[in-house]
């Protein structure tokens, strides 16, 4: 027993003092040149299923070329080439041991790029004031050190209970019943976060006694591009409810109104189908 311990101890001293290793071990240089996945298979596997891993997919590249979009798109979509982000894009080129990532600064490089203000809005949010960071919501099992799934709205259930509608009615003598609506959300950044290609819609419908729709009024929250003013941020701010007032409700045999909040993965109008659309909340109220 003592001899085996002595041999191990001598081997360790030799390795530490000379840097030499026995067969089966790898050198520091070899370690740096190895694909990360060879040692970090679990991390690589979980990251491979994310949207970031395919941010520059073949379909994306085709559209990017067809549209003659600027080269700088790739600074975020595929900084190292390939079909999306790779380990070094966030963790740096090394060497081991890699420095602990500075979140959210490392995220801001892309999530505050043109067309996004996700991290900027996060910095003004109740979540930031509580000391939370991006990973608290987007990396569900961050404590494991292995999980790299980076969940977002694309993941089923991720948007559950994220936003809330309050539908009230005020009876004005001059204007008739007025719907007074509050839209609030719990995201740690503006809603929708992400790119200009997403939108949240508030849809208010007047319903007849047989539930047929008498009228519809919609409001879009997201990025807008005004012909004169340029880009306008009309997203729902974190920690700050938005207020909508709608009058003219009592028309077309309306007996009750229904308010819905929808998250859509496309910027354009509601009449274009979005198969990934997510209903965030819905509430009904009878007309007095």
């Amino acid at each position: 027993m003592f001899q085996r311990r002595l041999i191990r101890w001598l081997w360790l001293v030799t390795v530490l003092t000379t840097g030499n290793v026995t067969a089966g071990q790898i050198t520091a240089e070899e370690k740096e040149n190895q694909p990360c996945a060879e040692c970090h298979a679990g991390i690589a596997e979980s990251f491979a299923g994310t949207r970031m891993a395919i941010a520059a997919s073949e379909r994306f590249r085709r559209q990017w070329q067809d549209r003659e979009s600027p080269d700088y798109c790739m600074n975020c979509h595929a900084p190292s080439g390939g079909e999306g982000l790779v380990c070094a894009d966030c963790h740096g080129p090394g060497p081991h041991p890699y420095a602990k990532l500075d979140v959210p600064e490392v995220c801001a490089r892309c999530h505050d790029a043109p067309g996004e203000n996700t991290v900027r809005q996060f910095r003004q949010s109740p979540a930031a004031r509580k000391g939370m960071n991006c990973l608290d919501c987007h990396l569900p099992d961050k404590k494991s050190g292995v999980d790299h799934r980076f969940e977002g709205p694309s993941v089923s259930g991720f948007l559950d209970n994220v936003a809330k509608l309050r539908l009230n009615m005020r009876l004005d003598e001059s204007r008739g019943p007025t719907a007074v609506i509050q839209v609030s959300h719990r995201a740690g950044h503006a809603l929708p976060g992400g790119t200009t290609g997403r939108a949240v819609w508030s849809v208010v419908k007047g319903l007849k006694a047989d539930s047929a729709v008498a009228w519809t009024m919609s409001k879009r929250f997201g990025w807008e591009h005004h012909p004169v003013q340029g880009w306008l941020d009309r997203t729902l701010k974190p920690g700050r409810a938005a207020v909508l007032e709608l009058d003219g409700l009592a028309r077309g045999d309306t007996v009750r109104i229904r308010a819905e909040l929808k998250y859509r993965f496309r910027a354009g109008p509601l009449d274009r189908e979005d198969p990934r659309e997510v209903g965030l909340d819905a509430v009904e109220l009878g007309l007095p």
Binding site: R170, H225, P227, F265, A267
Partner: protein
């Protein structure tokens, strides 16, 4: 008999005092506590009941104009906590009764908007932030991020 009458009188007085102090203090919340509550994932519903003119002159961000008349306000039945912004001298009781019928726990912003302003918190003029569908023409740009949808102006 006389002793019993005195005892009942004393009990009645105690009940009155307790009820009065409850009305004065129940659900009262100061500006700082409200500010902190609004900064949580489950903030209360804020109702400004000072009337249209006062509401448009500036209110707590996110507050709804519920009008001045409790009978003219119909809340949804989701219940929860609600904080009232009252005009000076207005009795909260009719509002409390109205909202309690719909399952709400009613709190009063102590000192109203005056206290909120004095504490230095943001005051929002709702007319500036008001969103009315159809009033803002906007354009969705053509680009990859927009799934290649054509540029369009909505009005």
């Amino acid at each position: 008999m006389r002793c019993l009458a005195l005892w009942l009188l004393a009990l009645l007085s105690l009940i009155r005092v307790a009820a009065a102090s409850e009305t004065a203090g129940l659900g009262s919340i100061d500006a700082l506590a409200l500010f902190r509550w609004l900064d949580t994932p489950d903030p209360p519903l804020l109702l400004d009941v000072r009337g249209r003119k006062a509401y448009l002159s500036g209110s707590v961000p996110g507050a709804l104009d519920a009008g001045k008349d409790p009978a003219g306000f119909l809340p949804d039945s989701r219940g929860g906590d609600v904080v009232l912004i009252l005009a000076e001298g207005v009795e909260p009781e009719p509002w409390r009764e109205r909202l309690a019928d719909f399952g709400y726990r009613v709190h009063i912003l102590a000192g109203g908007m005056g206290a909120w302003r004095a504490a230095g918190f943001t005051v929002e003029k709702p007319a500036e932030g008001f969103v009315q569908p159809g009033t803002v023409p906007f354009l969705i740009p053509r680009g990859i991020c927009e799934l290649n949808e054509p540029a369009e102006v909505y009005d």
